[in-house]
């Protein structure tokens, strides 16, 4: 019963979306923004949001009750799963995650319809119509090609999915976090299309769009940070970013959203950068769809290739072609009719923001080209893979100037700034940069150019991030400024972590027998014993180690080499030891064969000492926290403004009487 209810709610929501598109576009065309049809649009969006919410709730209930007559549940769940994984099983698969996508999207549409009153009504109608149009594609995708509520002809005796690899709290929440980011960008996209259709690219439009961009950006930041840490500890390769297509697919929307976030702020504050903001709004959503497409279609070979289906890939490609192609055509037709907006000097806050927007876009282009390049060559019959030797230096060409400008930018005034006013902070930051360079070069040799530049600029950015607080009354500062300070500081911190990891990491690859001691950086690691251990569907060799930092107390470490047998698969469970100044990372490999002279068996050990590597993820969290502060600040300001407006209106009424 529950499955039929969920499916019915979904169909109904799809029908309402069609109606919403029809009513919105018809009343826009007829120029009757206050007609009866137009009055339908907002309620339709709200009810649609409620219906999808009910539908998703129905799916959750099915998973919690482990209703094995439903195909999706039988394929992905098991009655013996812990409760939290039953719940996460609902979105840990293609169909469920698409339903989550549609639910969040329709819910957001409902919220806009309920609360957004600043924009002119025609723009709102166009925005909601565009949202319904985007939604319809995903409804069609769900209902025709990936119905989550499909019943089995006869109930399965027991569920299939008790894959312990996927029972990881990180994996349960990593994909939906990224999804929330992607969906938030779809709202920004609808706003951009609505504004283009009605030629209302105004500061009000920017203010309406900003919270959605900000929200999406926060989720993307958290998603990428968590994903990076997951790859770091789970894959056992000691790296934290592999420029894998799937990682790039999440990085590209983030880059576009970061650019959009800043350009929206310029539009809101200064009424400049109108077409550029629209373009970025379209680009950001394009990147999320391109990312989803690349991951789901399996067109690029990747370590994440677990959700691959060419048929679904072609469906997403068609949606992509319709939405993005349509929006870009609209953009090309309308861009000429949108006035450019306010002018500004090169040395001004706008100038700095524009510069960094261009840099971000350039980095985005570099990542996109690097990700798609194997496809291009494969079309010509050559298989290649593009890796860090391309991405790191080529990206840095644009990232380093961007960091320099980012340090100075927030200190500049809008419109025009004289160089004299910023001479002192520029001097201070220059000194900091040179000092860090000198210290690092003097204390250690043989550091690459990139990590060196990264360290110097990372420290400067972190120092510079607090400079905007100078001479301001801290208690009266808007929350959004605090948000900016934190986020910029997070960038500096993360850059320091990345540079430190690549500059100072010490790696040892040795064959050791029980009792041997290996030195790695400041650590002495003793291999005590190697013992077999067994889990539910794996056996493992566990290396018991004792690690001492600078002759301190020994700390136990136990990395494992696991062998699963259905299907046969080897994984490494790395052991991590975290100190304030870095992490010790230990992996145990196979037994070393072929030396008959050895009296005792020897084992491959991989040990890394990674100074300050944790700063990468602390930085990521700071960035997200900054975003959250800014979002709360913006929403609070908006609520206060609402309340004030209402009071004024009430007073007017009283006086009028």
């Amino acid at each position: 019963m529950m499955a039929e209810f969920g499916l019915a709610a979904l169909w109904l929501a799809a029908a309402l979306a069609a109606l919403q598109l029809l009513a919105g576009s018809l009343s826009l065309k007829a120029g009757e923004e206050s007609g009866q049809l137009a009055a339908l649009v907002r309620p339709l969006a709200i009810v649609q949001g409620v219906l999808t919410g009910l539908s998703f709730a129905a799916l959750l209930v099915l998973f919690v009750n482990t209703d094995l007559s439903v195909k999706l549940v039988a394929m992905n769940s098991h009655s013996a799963k812990p409760f939290i994984y039953k719940l996460s099983g609902a979105w840990g698969n293609h169909e469920g995650s698409m339903l989550l996508w549609v639910t969040v999207m329709a819910g957001a549409g409902g919220l806009i319809a309920l609360f957004e009153r600043r924009l002119p009504e025609p723009t709102m109608l166009a925005t909601l119509a565009a949202q319904a149009f985007v939604g319809l594609g995903f409804y069609a995708f769900l209902l025709f090609s990936s119905n989550p509520f499909e019943r089995l002809p006869s109930p399965a005796p027991k569920g299939l999915g008790l894959n312990p690899l996927l029972q990881d709290i990180g994996l349960a929440f990593h994909p939906p976090t990224l999804y929330l980011g992607y969906v938030g960008l779809s709202i920004a996209f609808s706003f951009a299309v609505g504004a283009l259709l009605t030629r209302q690219v105004t500061p009000d439009f920017a203010r309406a769009m900003r919270p959605w961009v900000l929200g999406a950006w926060i989720f993307l930041t958290i998603g990428i940070t968590a994903g990076s840490y997951w790859a770091y500890y789970e894959l056992g390769w000691g790296g934290w970013w592999f420029w894998d297509p799937v990682e790039n697919a999440s990085l590209m929307p983030w880059l576009a959203a970061t650019a959009l976030l800043h350009s929206v702020s310029v539009l809101a504050a200064r009424d400049a950068l109108r077409t550029w903001t629209i373009m970025l709004g379209v680009a950001a959503f394009s990147m999320s769809m391109v990312g989803t497409f690349l991951v789901r279609s399996g067109i690029l070979t990747s370590v994440h290739a677990f959700a691959v289906d060419p048929e679904r890939g072609s469906f997403i490609l068609v949606l992509l072609a319709i939405y993005i192609g349509g929006a870009l055509t609209l953009f090309a037709l309308r861009a000429g009719t949108i006035a450019e907006g306010e002018r500004f000097a090169v040395l001004s806050r706008e100038g700095a923001l524009v510069f960094n927007n261009v840099m971000l876009t350039a980095i985005l282009a570099i990542v996109l080209v690097g990700t798609l390049y194997p496809l291009v060559t494969e079309a010509m019959g050559v298989k290649v893979s593009v890796g860090p030797p391309y991405f790191n230096p080529v990206g840095a060409i644009f990232a380093l100037p961007m960091l320099a400008v980012m340090a100075i930018g927030p200190l500049l005034r809008w419109r025009r700034e004289s160089f004299a006013a910023i001479r002192l902070p520029v001097l201070v930051l220059g000194l900091v940069t040179v000092a860090v360079l000198a210290i690092v070069m003097a204390s250690s040799s043989g550091i690459g150019l990139l990590p060196l530049a990264g360290l110097a600029l990372g420290v400067s950015v972190a120092v510079a991030s607090v400079l905007p607080l100078r001479g301001r009354k801290l208690r009266r500062m808007p929350l959004s400024v605090w948000g900016m300070v934190l986020a910029h500081m997070g960038i500096g911190v993360a850059i320091c972590g990345m540079a430190s990891e690549s500059a100072f990491s010490v790696e040892r690859l040795v064959a050791a027998k029980a009792g041997d001691t290996v030195e790695v950086g400041p650590w002495q690691v003793r291999l005590v014993a190697v013992e077999p251990v067994a889990g539910p569907n794996w056996t493992a060799l566990e290396g018991r180690m004792q690690a001492r930092y600078d002759d301190g107390e020994p700390i136990e470490l136990a990395p494992q080499a696991r062998a699963f047998w259905t299907p046969p698969q080897q994984t490494s469970e790395a052991a991590l030891l975290t100190r304030w100044n870095g992490q010790l990372y230990a992996v145990i490999g196979e037994q070393v064969h072929g030396d008959a002279s050895a009296d005792a068996p020897r084992w491959q050990l991989r040990l890394w000492w990674k100074p300050f590597v944790t700063l990468i993820w602390y930085g990521g969290l700071l960035i997200a926290l900054g975003g959250a502060l800014a979002l709360v600040g913006r929403v609070l300001t908006e609520l206060r403004r609402h309340a004030a407006l209402r009071r004024i209106a009430e007073r007017r009424q009283e006086q009028g009487r």
Partner: protein, 178 residues
């Protein structure tokens, strides 16, 4: 003004290029199988005890007798292995010498499987720890290798042998004999 008009179409052009590229890749007939890293290399060193009572075990020396062979990696618990049994029988009837490795199996299960689906093998080695399976570059069952008379791997077939593959494998065997 004309320059502005030209540039606003640029994003659309780039996007169209992207869609064309991926559409081409998506609908192209699949030619994405991975070339085995083991092709051209000798079979690794191993000695396997027999997995069934009436067939000997397997060691690399058995593969260096000058006659090309098929080496079939299988298991009694593997359903596709049962599905390819008729094709293996056909290969044997047409003169192929098939040796095999049974992965993670018990003598009883092997005997039951062979009684039910027939025994096309001249030798069956028991690989109880998947050592040979992993060493020879096979990651799943069933897989079939063409080994030439000197014990060099010439071809790797991943997955079950379907009817059209029979003629193809016979061809590979003839190639390896040359």
């Amino acid at each position: 003004m004309t320059r502005v008009k030209w540039t606003v179409w640029l994003p659309l052009a780039v996007f169209a290029g992207f869609v064309a590229l991926v559409a081409l890749q998506l609908f192209r007939p699949a030619g994405r199988e991975v070339e085995s890293a083991m092709i051209g290399k000798p079979v690794p060193a191993f000695t396997l005890p027999p997995a069934s009572a009436d067939r000997p075990g397997l060691s690399p020396a058995d593969l260096r007798d000058g006659k090309p062979k098929l080496l079939n990696v299988w298991a009694s618990w593997c359903i596709p292995c049962a599905a390819e049994a008729p094709q293996l029988a056909a290969l044997q009837r047409q003169g192929a010498d098939i040796v095999s490795v049974a992965v993670r199996d018990t003598p009883d299960d092997v005997a039951r499987f062979l009684a039910r689906y027939g025994n096309p093998y001249s030798r069956i080695g028991a690989d109880d720890l998947s050592q040979v399976q992993l060493g020879i570059g096979s990651s799943g069952v069933p897989e079939t290798f063409v080994i030439d008379g000197q014990g060099i791997i010439r071809y790797q077939h991943i997955g079950d042998i379907r009817e059209p593959d029979v003629a193809m494998l016979l061809g590979k065997l003839r190639e390896a004999a040359r």
